[in-house]
Symmetry: C2
Subunit: 333 residues, 2 copies
DNA sequence: TTGTACGCGTTATCAT
DNA sequence: ATGATAACGCGTACAA
C-alpha cells in the first residue's frame, strides 16, 4: 500500500475493480443498488488503493459543500465555547463539518471574512451576535446562504435566529436585586453592543423602580479576573454603599468575589454578586456564584438543526427561537 | 442588485462585460495582465452582478483548497484556545481558512473525523497532541497532506512538529520544588497521555532526589475548579504533610487555592501551589499563581507558517521545533 | 444492474 | 492583451 503521488480517483478504482466509475460512485453512495458481488470487488479495490473521495469535486457537482461556517467575535474566553462545541458535534452527527472564523469584534474584518467564507459556498452560516457590518449583511443576503444569528434577539434577523433578549436579562436582574431589598446597584461589564443593551435595560428598570442611579464600571477586557477585581474596586470607590453588583460574565464575577474577599467585604452579607453564563466554575466559587444561565449547548444544537433542515430543503416552521435564560440562585446573593 | 437564484459565475460576468471567462479570471488573479480599460469593465460587471468566486471549483482545478484543518481533543477549556486563535489569525493573514474538528479524546472518533477531513483535501492538518489512533496515523500518512503535530514532542512525528516535552516539564517542576526545600510533593492532574508523561517524570525525578513518594490525585475533569478543590482535599487527606502541589492546569490550581483558603491552609506559607498554562487569570489569583508557561500563540503561529510553507512548495529546513516552556514564579510558591 | 455522456465553475496552456 | 480548449473528480440523467 505505497501511496502514489496523486491521490486515486473513482476512475483509478474503477480500472482496478474492472467496473465503470459510476459503479464505484454507487458503491459509496447507494451500495444497495449493486450486486453484492460487484460491491465486494469495488470495496476491495477502494481499500487496496486507499481511495478517499474528493469532497471539493462532489461539492461542486452537487452544489452542496456539507460545510457550515460559524463566525465568532473571539475564540478566547469561555462565553461561546459551549455553543461551538455543541454546534460542532451536532453538525458532525448530521454529516456536516464546521469551519470557524474570528472577527475580533471588528466590523470591517467581519465583512472581509464573510466574503472568503461565502466563496466556499457553505450550506449555512452561523453568526454569533447580530451581524455588525452593513456590508456583511448585504453579502450574506445576496449569497442566499441560510443564516442563523445567535446570542441575541432581534425582530429583523437576516434569516433565522436562535437567541435570547439581553434587554430581558438586564430587566430581570434589576428586578431580582430590587425584590431582595437592594437599592444601590452596580454593574461591572464589557462594552459590546449586547452588553450595552443589558446595561441600559438594567438602568431603566432601576429607574422605574425608583432606585438611585446605577454605578456602571466598563472594562476593556470583558472576561478576565483582573478586570473583575478592578471593576468592583472602582465601584466601591465611587459608590461605597453599593449592595449588589451585576457582572457581565462569570469570570468578572469571580474576580469581583476575589476582590471582595481581599477587601474584607462580606458576600453576600454586605454585597451581592451576580454573574452571567453559568460557567462550569460558578458553582465551585467561594461563595457559590448566583448567575444568569444561558443554555449554549441548546443554542448550538438548535442552530445546527435549523441550518441542516434548510440545507436539505425542508421548510423550517419556527425560524425564530428565543431560548430565554434563567437566574440560578446560589450563595453569592 | 436583486440576487438571482443561481449565484453568478465567471461566464455570467464575462457575458455582461463582453469578454471571455478567462479575462474575468485574470481580472481577479492577475489584474496586471489586463488593459486598465478592460479591467475596469470587468470589475464593474463583477460589482454589478455581485459575483463571488466559487472556492470549490477553483480548489478542484488547482488541487489547492486554501484550507487548513485543526484537530483538537476539545474546544471547551482554556488550554488550546490561545493556540487556535493565533492559528486562525495567522492562516487568515496568509490567505487560508481554518476548519476545526473535535475528537473528544476518543481515538476511534479521531480516525473517523480524519477521514472526513481528508476528503476536503486541506492543504495541511494540525494535530493537537500526538495522534492517538493507529488508523489515524495511517490515513494521514497515506494522504500525503502536510501535518504538524503540536503540544508534545516525540522523535517519530508523522511529519512536522511544534511542541514541547511534557517529560521535561515534570522534571523541571520537581526540581523547582526540591530546590526550594520541599520534600513531600503532590500532583493534582488530568489523566491523558501527556499528563501521564508529566506525572511519571515528576515522580521519577522526586525519586532520584531521594524525596518521599509523590501523592497523586487523578481527576476526571482536567480543568474545573471543582476538581481542583477536590484534588487538593484528597491529597491533604492522604498526605497531610504535603508542602507543594503541581496542578495540571491553572484552573485546577485556582480550585486548589480556593480549597486551601477554605481549609485555612496558608499559601505559600504552608503549601506551595503551581499551575500549568499561565492562563490570563493566573496573575490575578489570590495569591498570584506560579505556573508553567507554554506559548500557545507561538505554537499556532509556527504551525501556520510550517503548513503554508509546505503548501506553497517551499522546503522546510526546520520541521521539528521544541518551543520549550518556562516557570513563571509568582506568589503561590 | 451497469455504463455513457455531460456538466458543475474554474484556470493552465496554447494560440491568436 | 485576449480567447478557445481542456481538465480537475464526481454524480445526474438517461441508455443499454
Amino acid at each position: 500500500m505505497t501511496s502514489p503521488v496523486r491521490p486515486s480517483t473513482v476512475q483509478d478504482v474503477a480500472r482496478v475493480a474492472g467496473v465503470s466509475a459510476m459503479t464505484v460512485s454507487r458503491a459509496l453512495n447507494a451500495p444497495d443498488k449493486l450486486t453484492p458481488e460487484t460491491l465486494k470487488r469495488v470495496r476491495e479495490a477502494i481499500e487496496q488503493m486507499g481511495y478517499v473521495p474528493n469532497a471539493m469535486a462532489s461539492g461542486l457537482r452537487l452544489s452542496r459543500a456539507r460545510l457550515v461556517a460559524a463566525m465568532l467575535p473571539t475564540l478566547v474566553g469561555p462565553v461561546f465555547q459551549e455553543m461551538i462545541q455543541s454546534l460542532d458535534s451536532a453538525l458532525n452527527r448530521l454529516g456536516y463539518q464546521l469551519m470557524v472564523g474570528c472577527t475580533g469584534y471588528d466590523a470591517a474584518h467581519e465583512a472581509e471574512l464573510l466574503r472568503t467564507v461565502i466563496q466556499r459556498r457553505p450550506d449555512g452560516i452561523i453568526m454569533t451576535g447580530i451581524t455588525a457590518s452593513e456590508d456583511g449583511r448585504r453579502a450574506l443576503l445576496a449569497s442566499r446562504i441560510p443564516v442563523v444569528e445567535t446570542w441575541d434577539y432581534t425582530d429583523a434577523p437576516i434569516d433565522m435566529l436562535v437567541g435570547f433578549s439581553h434587554v430581558a436579562i438586564g430587566t430581570a436582574v434589576a428586578d431580582y436585586f430590587a425584590s431582595r431589598g437592594h437599592r444601590q446597584l452596580g454593574i461591572v461589564s464589557g462594552n459590546d453592543a449586547r452588553a450595552q443593551a443589558r446595561i441600559q435595560a438594567f438602568k431603566a428598570r432601576a429607574g422605574e423602580l425608583g432606585l438611585p442611579p446605577v454605578t456602571v464600571s466598563l472594562t476593556a477586557s470583558p472576561s478576565t479576573l483582573g478586570a473583575g477585581r478592578q471593576g468592583l474596586a472602582d465601584i466601591l470607590m465611587r459608590a461605597p454603599a453599593t449592595s449588589a453588583v451585576f457582572c457581565s460574565s462569570d469570570t468578572l464575577a469571580l474576580g469581583a468575589l476575589i476582590e471582595a474577599q481581599h477587601k474584607g467585604v462580606d458576600v453576600p452579607g454586605t454585597l451581592a454578586v451576580m454573574g452571567l453564563g453559568d460557567q462550569e466554575f460558578a458553582k465551585d466559587a467561594p461563595p457559590a456564584l448566583t448567575t444568569v444561565r444561558v443554555d449554549g449547548t441548546r443554542i448550538g444544537q438548535l442552530a445546527a438543526e435549523l441550518i441542516v433542515s434548510r440545507a436539505e430543503g425542508r421548510t423550517v416552521d419556527q425560524p425564530r427561537i428565543d431560548i430565554g435564560f434563567s437566574i440560578v440562585t446560589r450563595s453569592s446573593t
